[in-house]
Amino acid sequence: MKKIIIIKYGELSTKKDNINFFISKLKNNISLILESIENEISYDFGRMFIKVNENDIDIVVNKLKKVFGILEIIIGYIDNELEIEKIKNNTLNLISDKNFNTFKVITKRSDKTYPINSMEINNVIGGYLLKNISNIKVDVHNPELSINIEIRKNEVLYYFNGIKGLGGYPVGTLGKGLLMLSGGIDSPVSGYMAIKRGVKIEAIYFESPPHTSEMAKEKVIKLARVLSYYNAEIKLHIINFTEIQETILKNIPHDYLITIMRRMMYRISAIIAHNNKCNILINGESIGQVASQTLTSMRAINEVIKMPVIRPLACFDKLEIIKMAKEIQTYDISTLPFEDCCTIFVPKHPVINPSLSKCEEYEKLIPYKELIHKAIKNHEVLIIKEKMENKYQDLL
């Protein structure tokens, strides 16, 4: 008997016209994450089948648990014995180590020439199991164990309950976005939520050496790497923000420091997004968490760009965000104690309701257009992948 992995699609199965595009995108995404493992993927109207070596099954299933667009991951068993007696035996063997009280047999015949019809097979198998296993009952509405048997032309496929997949849309089916990634808890979670909706993301990080350390940058790279498990790979744009930040510090009244700084970041992000064919910005802003996240602040900051800004966490509270960060395994990295540039120059009394006219007035005091242009030109770009960097290839 051979094992095979079956994938059931998620939300994308409702998109009638685009379904082929979605399925092939899903197939490509799966091929990418299974790059280093021998595999064969085929698909039909409702499901995808993946053949791998028996030794690799656990590893592959673990990887599939991180692919968006999958509703359920099921391990199936294929056998070429078509006789009903063999099917009875196989079914009994396959469920022998399972613990359950109620079950249901669901048979499908894709080969209609098979002599016994589905209903009869359900009954025959059901009866056989009831005879051979004690203390179990049939429950047609809500069985603990679903026994699925598919009779095809030359083989029989058996499968049971599967593992829940991530859901969402296959990455890349809904365009590209640029994630403003800081080392904090919120922005990686926002990135994850955008990827879940099918957005392929690139990321942008603002560093201010020597005020921010190499460790802070490493932290962001680590976070990008975690997100790359879901996104295949992440292009990380690293902007040297030191000159802009120091210029703002020297020339702008302190209560407007954060507001003006954020306006610069938005401008830079929008340009980078545009240059890289991203249609939206994404960030981890949540209403009210810090001074720059009041509604008037958001308006004063957002006003500098036309591109839509998605804030997936706008209405979540901190505890909910922390819970998600732990689930996607970014929490431990985010809480490493290396400050990013938003936290190092925090004024004592940041303005809570900044005025648009004051922002414009203050910005006239600094040559920000040249500074922005300078920061963007020749900025560092890293491609972050799940696979290890080649720099250790000779050592490891």
Partner: protein, 375 residues
């Protein structure tokens, strides 16, 4: 030299030695330090750990570096005992474990734990019925090695796990996998804790790791500071860790192909030795080909070893670690004290050549026939 004692230890391979040298020279920072040199070391450490994690399909934080399998066994058994003694004090081990396991059990016995020994059949396989019956509500740990170091008997870990968890979901399953690594494939999802050493897979002595599943907690037995793992504080030995990671990568290639080759060498030796009526082949159908145990009934094993030593042929009696005169593993399988007193272990590797085996058998014949003629 004909080295046939690979289960005792292996020479460090050229590639691994190269890594130790390079890392020692180029990565001088303490991985715990905050500056750029520390960061450089921390990054290599992370990549080395990730490589091991990826190969075995586990999480990087489930790997705890130790000085070897003995330390890992201590961490595992004492750690589980200390963390779970309120739930129970019953521990089950097999009769085919490495001596360190029994030494730790003796310590635990002295502080109030109860140790049971599960039986095995004549092929060395764990008696599943006996295991099932011995597991109780207060059984906190079962420790059964993946491959016995003397006879090479390999246990079906998945099946053992199923039996344990069916009887008591809370019982933790530890396996000393030292003799299995690099020889047979291991599925870490079958076990909760595992111990291994690098020096069995052409890595350096002094490094190994304990696998601890994230699903369980154990009490640390070593205390200190350092940001990596509370179970093993202190400065991580980066050159050794990088070496371990490389050794694991190299050991995990072509397992099946290598096993087939070693099997041919094994069969060659068996066919040759079978001819001698006073030589018993202590091989069961579950023995892996890399380990071949024999009993030379009419010669004392130490004496014979020294005779071969003259020709620079190196074998073991019992294991390198056990000091007793009787092989516990042979007793457990064959229940024959004479057989257990006369064991010699021949351990092969995929780097052993047919030529070496041919020469070995020539020398064996010469010395053996000489020895019995003296008698």
């Amino acid at each position: 030299m004909i080295y046939l004692d690979y289960s005792a230890t292996t020479p460090v391979s050229y590639e691994v030695l190269d890594t130790i040298s390079k890392v020692t020279k180029e990565f001088i920072g303490n991985a715990n330090s905050l500056h750029a040199l520390g960061l450089k070391s921390a990054n290599l450490l992370e990549s080395a750990t990730k490589q091991i994690a990826d190969i075995y399909g586990i999480s990087p934080n489930e790997i705890i570096y130790t000085s070897g399998a003995t330390e890992a066994n201590n961490m595992a058994l004492i750690g589980v005992a200390m963390a779970n003694h309120k739930k129970g004090k019953h521990i089950i081990v097999s009769k085919l474990e490495h001596p360190s396991i029994y030494a730790i059990c003796n310590y635990l016995k002295s502080i109030g734990f109860e140790i049971s020994y599960v039986n095995n059949d004549k092929e060395g396989l764990i008696d599943f019925e006996d295991l099932k019956n011995k597991i109780r509500e207060d059984t906190i740990l079962v420790s059964i090695c993946a491959v016995n170091s003397e006879t090479g008997v390999r246990q079906p870990l998945k099946m053992i796990r199923q039996i344990i968890k069916k009887e008591n979901l809370a019982t933790i399953f530890h396996s000393d996998i030292t003799q299995a690594v690099g020889k047979v494939s291991i599925n870490f999802h079958d076990i909760d804790l595992a111990s291994m050493s690098a020096h069995k897979i052409f890595g350096p002595k002094g490094i190994g790791f304990l696998y601890k599943s994230n699903m369980i907690k154990i009490t640390p037995i070593i205390y200190g500071s350092g940001k990596f793992n509370e179970l093993k504080p202190g400065t991580p030995p980066l050159p050794l860790i990088a070496a371990l990671s490389k050794a694991i990568r190299l050991a995990n290639t072509d397992l099946e192909k290598r096993e087939r080759f070693v099997n041919l060498l094994n069969m060659k030796i068996v066919n040759f030795l079978e001819k001698y009526p006073e030589i018993k082949i202590n091989k069961t159908k579950y023995s892996i080909p890399q380990i071949l145990n024999i009993s030379i009934m009419n010669i004392m094993p130490e004496t014979f070893l020294h005779m071969l030593d003259k020709h620079e042929v190196y074998l073991s009696t019992n294991t390198a670690c056990s000091s007793g005169e009787i092989s516990n593993s042979i007793m457990a399988i064959y229940d024959d004290p004479k057989r257990a007193k006369h064991t010699i272990r021949i351990s092969l590797s995929y780097v052993t050549t047919t030529d070496e085996i041919n020469k070995f058998l020539e020398i064996f014949k010469e010395e053996y026939e000489n020895a019995i003629s003296i008698k």
